[in-house]
């Protein structure tokens, strides 16, 4: 670790926060329908869809609209991927994807996971990329934000049934937030040298006289939304490690900022919408504590290097550079990794499979914690609110009142739904991963023996269920078993989680908002921030400790003892 490295981290994270603050307030204005500079476009879209943006929806209506939209998105994307061989804008002449892979990929992009069992430059046509994947990058991100807004509205007032209009939220977030940001960022990426072209791949002759195919494509703008929408699905197979997807440190820094600003900003949007900005700041503080701690652990583990290599005479100052590019360096890799896994983005600018065990356990554990730190666009906020409810419930009784968050009492119905949501992740992650470890055709996908092999499998289901999409690597994911079960994991991780959360919102919205008093559990100070961090660690993380002990921790301590597998 170097001072310059820490300065880089501080600068990039500081910029992300500096942008998130005005963005958060701006998004609150958009959510409230107070931003209108594209009103004609908006009106046109509402008219085309026969939508009355002022008509509120109950939680069920909202959930149904959301599910219907995403189901339609899934079907369209699935067909596109299957049929891309017969469709235009396919200069490389790729065939349609196999049913397993098309299912997995379609689910993956609809659920904002962007797990990729395919290589972009070797399997997806330009049409699939632009009309399929990029569209879902916008749609799934806007869906996530819309859901977060709906849940937020449950705390705004008392005795209301409606959580807002899904269509209006979707349109406004796309038009006023995602699109403008993506255009600005895309232009910056083009300037930094990312391709944005429909031309076919280039054949080049290298100095050694070998012919090399250099893939191109309409990449820059898709990469912009990939980060802004915390989608993370790379245009190219190796994601932001590809020279066209992450040309230099500035590009990678912009990507870090892009994947953090909306999740950070939404915490503040929440505070603004519920009429108490301190509430939003507290949530943001919890997120930042984890981002900084995770960055520090990864940075120190990776910069420290592998003791076995150092003993064999490798320069200790290099740290562990396997799977990393020197154009980014350890510090930006650490911050990128912490934000991409904390934020449910899933883009990578280094290979986790090559991380030190302790460096590798952090991204996995961040996803285990529920993808809330800061979490995906929207999903981070509503996941965070579930943890806020749990924190208030566990400790709130200690002030001698029925637990309440922002004046809304948390009772049996809310707890039932919250537990239903919270159960989804461990059931899916641990269930499928454990099952896969005893199935011969599943373990045959693993590249490594010992605890590292277990990490690869555990990470895959963690990433899928957490809707993160990053890959640990070392796993041959394009098999029917993995495509199917990972696809199911993604679906459950997204929809089986959010529907109960919407139901909680519906139930809370109906309750009166009790006025604040000296007897109210304070949910904005450092005390609550600390409490919530503790609850996230203990309730969100403890159930994964046994499996983590068997994978990265076992690997770490074995390594220290000089044992390899």
């Amino acid at each position: 670790m170097t001072l310059i490295g820490w300065a880089q981290i501080a600068l990039v994270l500081g910029l992300a926060i500096a942008i998130a603050i005005p963005l958060g307030h701006y998004m609150a204005a958009v959510a409230g329908g107070r931003v209108t500079f594209l009103r004609p476009v908006e009106r046109l879209l509402y008219a085309a869809g026969g939508i009355d943006p002022a008509r509120g929806m109950s939680w069920k209506g909202y959930a149904l609209a959301m599910l219907a939209t995403n189901a339609a998105g899934f079907v369209l994307l699935y067909l596109l991927l299957r049929l891309q061989g017969m469709l235009p804008l396919n200069p490389q002449g790729f065939d349609g994807m196999s049913p397993w892979l098309a299912f997995n990929t379609a689910v993956s992009f609809v659920t904002n996971t962007n797990w990729q069992a395919y290589n972009g430059e070797a399997a997806a046509s330009y049409l699939s990329q632009m009309a399929g994947l990029a569209v879902q990058n916008f749609l799934s991100a806007a869906t996530g934000i819309a859901l977060a807004l709906a849940v937020t509205r449950a705390f705004v007032a008392g005795g209301v049934k409606e959580l807002g209009n899904f269509w209006a939220d979707l349109v406004r977030m796309t038009l006023y937030v995602l699109l403008p940001l993506a255009i600005v960022l895309g232009l910056a990426f083009v300037a930094l040298g990312m391709p944005q072209t429909l031309a076919s791949y280039v054949q080049a002759t290298t100095l050694e006289g070998v012919t090399q195919t250099i893939p191109l494509g309409p990449a820059a703008f898709q990469i912009a939304i990939k980060h802004l929408g915390t989608n993370g699905g790379g245009f190219f197979g190796v994601n932001s490690l590809h020279p066209f997807e992450g040309p230099d440190a500035i590009a990678t820094s912009l990507q870090i900022i892009a994947q953090a600003i909306i999740p950070f900003g939404l915490a503040l949007t929440f505070g603004r919408m519920v009429g108490d900005v301190r509430q939003g700041r507290a949530l943001l503080a919890v997120m930042l504590i984890f981002v900084v701690a995770a960055t520090a652990i990864i940075y120190s583990a990776e910069a420290g290097g592998n003791p076995l290599h150092i003993a064999a005479g490798v320069d200790a100052l290099q740290g562990n550079m396997e799977g990393k590019d020197i154009r980014f360096g350890q510090a930006l890799v650490a911050l990128f990794t912490a934000t991409t896994t904390g934020a449910s983005c899933g883009a990578v600018n280094a290979m986790f499979d090559s991380f030190m065990p302790l460096g590798g356990v952090v991204p996995m554990f961040l996803i285990h914690l529920g993808e809330v730190l800061p979490g995906g666009v929207g999903s981070g906020l509503y996941g965070m609110l579930v943890f806020a409810l749990l924190s208030v419930f566990v400790a709130g009784l200690m002030v001698g009142r029925t637990p309440e968050y922002l004046g809304k009492k948390i009772q049996a119905r809310e707890m039932k739904l919250a537990m239903l949501a919270v159960l989804v992740l461990p059931a899916v992650i641990l269930g499928f991963a454990s099952l896969s470890m005893v199935l011969p055709f599943a373990v045959s996908s693993l590249a490594n023996a010992g605890p590292h092999g277990l990490s690869e499998m555990l990470y895959a289901y963690t990433s899928a269920a957490g809707n993160n999409g990053s890959a640990f690597g070392g796993l041959t994911a394009d098999t029917p078993w993995l495509n199917t079960t990972l696809g199911i994991s993604m679906l459950l991780g997204r929809f089986a989680y959010v529907v109960p959360v919407l139901a909680i919102a519906g139930s809370l919205a109906l309750k009166p908002r009790a006025p604040e008093s000296a007897g109210t559990f304070p949910t904005h100070g450092p005390l609550f921030v600390g409490l919530m961090a503790g609850v996230i660690l203990i309730l969100g993380g403890l159930q994964y400790m046994p499996s983590i002990a068997l994978s990265p921790l076992a690997e770490h301590f074995s390594m220290l003892a000089g044992k390899t597998f």
């Binding site: 009784l397 707890m415 641990l430 000296a518 400790m545 003892a561």
Partner: protein
């Protein structure tokens, strides 16, 4: 009466009572019945796991394999379950002891059923248990009142010690707010004609016994929500532990079932799961000891949530009778002279007001009242003269009375400065009395309804808890405002009608606030029913007692404040032990995880930061700690976590430090100590 100290407390069995513990130990075994234990999911899972490990240990023993470690785990898992059922049994036992004392006083009486309501001479003697609602009975001196009822005729003194524990008889009469009688109480003098309002088995006493015994106990809303959290956590840890089978088989052999069972039981929240119902029962019990009966646990919980307290001025905030509070001299007169004249004018006055003048003169001016001379002639108060006083031969003639009446009777004008002072007193809601000696007006006495000492501080403390106090009074606005300011209430309702009270409650509830009030009259009934916590007075009418969800046997409305505190204490205890239970898990991981994977990854012993002796002793120590902590916390769950009105933020900080941080630290120490002991004894 000193409002700072609670009034009579019902004596209850203490935690250490051997007879109670013996009975509880027996009950603990009866409660192992899985069909009832399933109501408590955490402990039910523990029982299933204990059974499983027992069977495995038995099989190992039969196969001649080593079985002592498995048997040790099985033993402690059973003890975990037993400690939990024991905690509940102890809590119930304490209630039962009280119920028994109530049952002894239950009426086995005969009822004199009147054949005609207006004829007391014609009655038929029947068994009290055969009484039906609406029947009219006669109760005479020496009779037990056969069932709950409403007095129709007569007036009698009734000893209600069976219910209230208070042996001084109370007056019961028809009409008004003292018309309700309770079955099982004794008529000491005179007679009553009573219309029965509750058939046998449904009387106040019956309900009271059932409540105290916990027979009709239902889970309260918070308890249900907490149960869901605990059940959810249990499922999550079940998944986590079960998935280890797959994970561990990838690289070596999976841990044995008893070891996984030990991991599971130490991770699921057995501490709070085992103590949850005991905490609830004990909360009700605390209220009963405080001589307040709640019709449900829900009401006790609601008490903790109360945001607004509606308190009657008279008797709650003030003493309810006017007392001397100042002497105002006329121009040129010493205050002491007024005090002396007032004292002598009141020497023969036996009313509380008169007594208070003597007390005030003594306290303020050090004037001790002399013994009433034999030749003194007292002038009694009459409604016509509105003057009273005393003629003392050789000392003079002393009079006190309404200012205008006294001035008129003496034929002297009231000095203008005094008149102004008198008017000021009247404006503030107090009563001025003029004092005269030998026909000369010396000054005035200020009589006012005195705010109880310490009540201001109580309200201050309530405000710190976020509770608004609202004074309800029939006084006019000016008077009410003056007393409200003096008592330090947040708001007041002047010239209050029952409709005003009801309206106020509804309005507060619409704003999302929970309201508590106390009341005794029939016209209080709608408001009592509307309030989230309605504390009815035992001396009140049947309608009021039916409408409220709590009854105060001491009939002291001030106790509403303590009821709120007891409600809060109940919730705090639950929250504290939940936090403690969950925080405990951290240390258990450090104890068990390295131990269970030691075969596959001996390097994981690096996580054994407690330096536990061996894998076996580590696992056993964690299981033993997990069981013993339940017993260790039984006294706390029965007594309740201490409550202090210091505001939510400070309270949270304190409890989070004790039960959160303490909950993380305690098992590290406890498990290490148990491990050392096991090593010392050579068990593991």
């Amino acid at each position: 009466m000193n409002v700072m100290s609670p009034t009579t407390r019902r004596a209850g069995a203490s935690f250490g009572d051997p007879a109670l513990l013996r009975r509880a130990a027996l009950d603990a075994f009866r409660k192992l019945d899985p069909t009832t234990l399933i109501r408590n999911p955490v402990i039910f899972v523990t029982e299933v796991v204990a059974l499983l490990v027992t069977l495995l240990a038995g099989r190992a023993a039969m196969q001649g394999l080593p079985w002592s470690f498995q048997a040790g785990i099985a033993l402690w898992l059973w003890l975990t379950v037993l400690f939990a059922t024991f905690a509940e049994a102890v809590a119930e036992g304490r209630g039962r002891a009280q119920a028994d004392s109530l049952r002894r006083s239950r009426s086995e009486a005969r009822a004199k059923v009147l054949l005609r309501a207006d004829d007391r001479s014609l009655f038929q003697v029947r068994d009290a248990t055969e009484l039906r609602e609406g029947e009219i009975v006669l109760v005479e001196a020496g009779d037990l009142i056969p069932s709950d009822g409403e007095v129709m005729q007569g007036i009698a003194s009734v000893n209600e010690a069976a219910i209230t524990g208070e042996s001084a008889p109370v007056i019961r009469e028809s009409g008004g707010d003292r018309s309700a009688v309770t079955g099982g109480t004794l008529v000491v003098s005179d007679w009553l004609v009573v219309r029965i309002t509750a058939a046998s088995g449904r009387t106040f006493l019956d309900r009271m016994i059932a409540l105290v015994e916990g027979a009709s106990r239902q889970k309260t809303p918070n308890e249900i929500a907490l149960d869901i959290l605990l059940a959810g956590m249990t499922i999550i840890f079940l998944i986590a532990v079960a998935s280890l089978v797959g994970f561990a088989s990838w690289n070596g052999t999976p841990p044995s079932v008893p070891v996984l069972a030990a991991l599971l039981v130490t991770l699921i929240p057995t501490t709070i799961g085992g103590l949850l119902s005991a905490i609830g029962i004990a909360g009700m019990d605390r209220l009963v000891r405080f001589n307040v009966l709640a019709t449900s646990g829900r009401a006790v919980e609601a008490a903790g949530d109360v945001d607004v307290l509606l308190l009657d001025k008279t008797g709650t905030i003030t003493f309810g009778n006017r007392q001397a509070a100042g002497f105002i001299p006329a121009p040129g007169v010493e205050e002491r002279a007024v005090a002396e004249a007032a004292m002598l004018a009141s020497l023969a006055d036996e009313t509380p007001e008169g007594r208070s003048i003597l007390t005030f003169a003594r306290d303020r001016h050090g004037i001790t009242a002399p013994v009433l001379p034999a030749d003194a002639r007292s002038v009694p108060f009459t409604a016509q003269t509105r003057i009273s006083g005393l003629d003392l031969p050789g000392q003079g003639s002393f009079r006190k009375g309404a200012v205008d009446a006294l001035a008129k009777s003496l034929g002297v004008p009231v000095p203008p400065t005094l008149a102004a002072a008198v008017e000021r007193i009247a404006r503030q809601g107090a009563t001025p009395l003029a004092v005269a000696r030998d026909g000369v007006i010396l000054g005035a006495i200020e009589l006012k309804d005195i705010v109880k000492p310490g009540i201001r501080e109580r309200f201050q403390a309530l405000r710190g808890m976020g509770i608004r106090t609202v004074m309800v009074t029939g006084d006019n606005r000016l008077t009410a405002a003056a007393i409200a300011t003096e008592a330090g209430v947040d708001d007041f309702i002047a010239e209050a009608t029952p409709e005003d009270k009801l309206g106020y409650i509804r309005k507060a509830q619409a704003e999302g606030r929970l309201v508590a009030m106390a009341g005794d009259g029939t016209n209080d009934a709608p408001a009592l029913a509307q309030a989230d916590v309605g504390l009815a007075m035992q001396t009140g009418t049947q309608a009021a007692r039916e409408a409220g969800n709590m009854v105060d046997l001491d009939s002291d409305p001030t106790k509403l404040i303590e009821v709120v505190e007891i409600g809060k204490q109940l919730l705090i205890t639950r929250g504290a032990l939940t936090t403690f239970s969950i925080a405990n898990d951290v240390a258990k991981y450090f104890a068990i995880l390295p131990a269970i994977f030691v075969a596959s990854y001996p390097e994981l012993m690096a996580l054994n930061i407690m330096g536990l002796k061996s894998p076996e002793s580590a696992i056993l120590s964690a299981v033993i700690f997990n069981a013993l902590i339940i017993v260790a916390l039984v006294p706390l769950s029965l007594r309740g976590v201490r409550y202090a009105p210091i505001g939510a933020a400070a309270l949270l900080r304190r409890n989070l430090l004790i039960y959160g941080v303490g909950g993380i630290a305690a098992p590290f120490i406890g498990i290490k100590l148990i491990d050392m002991l096991l090593t010392l004894l050579g068990i593991a």
